[in-house]
């Protein structure tokens, strides 16, 4: 098996009033046929890395090879064999129909007319968009537009596809149908590779063969989702449901590796990774001291979210 993506000591700095280091000495290898995930919070560098690999951006230093070609000097060879879809992107022309927009983009890759038509029809059916095929793009919903964008990415039958937050802002049903397709696309086509960025833990856990956790421009860990979860090791994962409190106090407690808090039915669900089970006593005391009341407590098997907190020291949200 050869590498679809090879990144060595890659850095990208954006200059301006304030210099921003978007990627800092990144090393990464993605094998052919892998469904590879990049997981990280907003601003972690995921999109910058994707843009470099898609030949839209040059690295400040280091090298990146895609399908064996250098992103700097051999961009044209790369472009023939890849495609890219960004979640929430607004692409195409509103006055054209969905089918016309898709056809136009296939022509930019030189797909023959008959083949393009067959692929577009099959993908429209796959994504349940056939009844909207001849409707002007400007009249369809955000979800339908995003489905069109995903179809656009696959309609050129790329060897490697980059999906940047493909299910961003989509409803649950649409997201599930898209995930199912992504999984099948890689499994049913030998040698096809997918790189997916997401900040949805479940998406990464469900879909990816391997996941790289990226934070503040650096790759923190690369492993299978199961391998990443194992890294939680002796740490304990707890879910506490409490009346609303300020969770800042909890984060600063000794022994708390990381936490995420989400409001739920007037309460707060705090998921936390602790160095040791015994730390939970301090956590409960801190909740009470903050004026909260614990209404539920459970110990959980580690998830990818726990692994992320364990490695990065905070949650994604």
């Amino acid at each position: 098996m050869s590498s679809a993506i090879e990144v060595r000591s890659l850095s990208r700095v954006f200059s301006g009033r304030k210099e921003i280091v978007a990627l800092d000495d990144v090393d990464l290898t993605v094998e052919e046929g892998e469904l590879f995930g990049l997981l990280g919070p907003n601003g972690a560098g995921k999109t910058t890395l994707i843009k470099i690999l898609c030949t839209l951006l040059l690295p400040s230093s280091g090298t990146a090879r895609v399908l064996g070609y250098d992103v700097d000097s051999e961009a044209k060879q790369i472009r023939k064999r890849i495609n890219m879809v960004s979640g929430g992107e607004i692409s195409g022309y509103g006055l054209l129909t969905i089918r016309e927009n898709l056809w136009m983009f296939t022509q930019f890759y030189g797909v023959q007319g008959k083949v393009a038509k067959q692929r577009i029809d099959a993908l429209l059916e796959e994504f349940g968009l056939e009844d909207k095929a001849d409707v002007k793009l400007r009249t369809v919903s955000t979800g339908q537009r995003q489905k069109m964008n995903i179809i656009r990415g696959f309609s050129t039958d790329p060897d490697l596809i980059f999906l940047d937050e493909p299910t961003l802002g989509l409803d649950v049903t649409t997201s599930i149908s898209i995930r199912n397709y992504l999984r099948r696309w890689v499994r049913e086509r030998e040698g096809r590779t997918m790189m997916l960025t997401t900040h949805y833990m479940r998406e990464a856990e469900e879909l990816c063969d391997r996941v790289a956790i990226i934070d503040r421009g650096r790759i923190v860990a690369v492993d299978t989702p199961a391998g990443l979860k194992r890294r939680v090791g002796n740490d304990s994962s707890f879910l506490i449901e409490t009346t609303p409190i300020d969770t800042a106090r909890l984060s600063s407690l000794t022994g708390v590796r990381g936490l995420t808090a989400r409001p739920s039915n007037g309460h707060l669900k705090v998921r936390m990774v602790l160095e040791d089970e015994s730390v939970i006593a301090d956590v409960i005391s801190a909740v009470v001291a903050a004026g909260g009341k614990v209404v539920g407590l459970s110990k959980n098997e580690p998830t990818l979210e726990d692994a992320f907190m364990h490695l990065v020291g905070r949650g994604l949200e």
Partner: protein, 270 residues
């Protein structure tokens, strides 16, 4: 698939999008047919009030028709990559393997459709309403000069589009600068020779100047007061077409590299 085949497909697809898009919103026909005619009428009545030779009315109709192409070059070609970036299409174009020249050629071809409707309607209605007398001795030569002029002018538009790619709103000023002053300097409504040799020579750097001058000579003969013999103008136009198209390919490539280095291919609202 060869690069040629890919680029032809890509160019035709982009042209199709622009042409079909225009037919979906036909209200532009009203504005593009009636409004230019008002501008032409203003000049014609002005010339009539001054008692100018009626041939000047022909110059105005021809200039009015060619305005459509010049506006298309400035706003439909040069500024197009800027707009594409604003609406989110540019990064998808840049990720695709086709040549950027093919994309722009497609835009030009598609834009020619709406421009041609505007130009032809101005020409036909102008001739009919104002009874302009044309002496077209050599229609083939006229078609050849028009084609060369379009190649050179659209080549210039492609070169300008690379500026828009990099400088966005700053390049906007260049387009504004090239709009009204060029109507004057290139002699859209009068023989450019009237501006004197120095100004005419400078104005001739913009291909529409010599294109218009040659077309005036082919349509109105001696009365056109041509700047240079038509054959000389044709040679210069051919050179300009080649130079601008080469310059466009070169500058688009350079600007794309710079855009990749500075991250400007995907940044919006600059």
């Amino acid at each position: 698939m060869s690069d040629w085949a890919l680029n032809i497909r890509a160019g035709l697809a982009r042209a199709y999008a622009r042409t079909v898009g225009a037919t979906r919103e036909p209200s532009w026909v009203v504005f593009d047919v009636l409004l230019p005619l008002l501008g032409v009428a203003a000049y014609i009545f002005y010339y009539r009030a001054l008692g100018a030779d009626p041939v000047f009315e022909g110059f105005v109709v021809l200039g009015g028709a060619m305005t459509a192409f010049w506006l298309n070059v400035l706003w439909g070609m040069a500024a197009q990559l800027f707009w594409e970036r604003e609406v989110g299409n540019l990064q998808l174009f840049m990720v695709a393997p086709m040549s950027r020249m093919a994309l722009l050629a497609g835009m030009a071809l598609g834009g020619l459709f709406t421009s041609a409707v505007r130009a032809l309607s101005t020409l036909v209605l102008g001739v009919l309403i104002f009874q302009v007398h044309i002496m077209m001795a050599d229609p083939l030569a006229l078609v050849a000069v028009f084609t060369l002029t379009m190649l050179a002018v659209y080549g210039m538009g492609m070169a300008l589009s690379s500026l828009f790619l990099m400088y966005g709103r700053d390049a906007w000023n260049i387009s504004n600068l090239l709009q009204e002053p060029v109507y004057l300097m290139s002699g859209f409504y009068f023989p450019v020779r009237e501006l004197g040799m120095v100004v005419s020579a400078v104005a001739s750097l913009i291909p529409i100047t010599l294109g218009l001058d040659a077309m005036r000579q082919l349509l109105f003969g001696e009365l056109a007061g041509g700047l240079l013999p038509v054959t000389v103008e044709v040679v210069i136009l051919a050179l300009q077409a080649a130079i601008f198209i080469w310059l466009a390919a070169f500058s688009l490539d350079r600007m794309e590299q710079r855009g990749r280095r500075e991250g400007r291919l995907t940044l919006r609202w600059q």
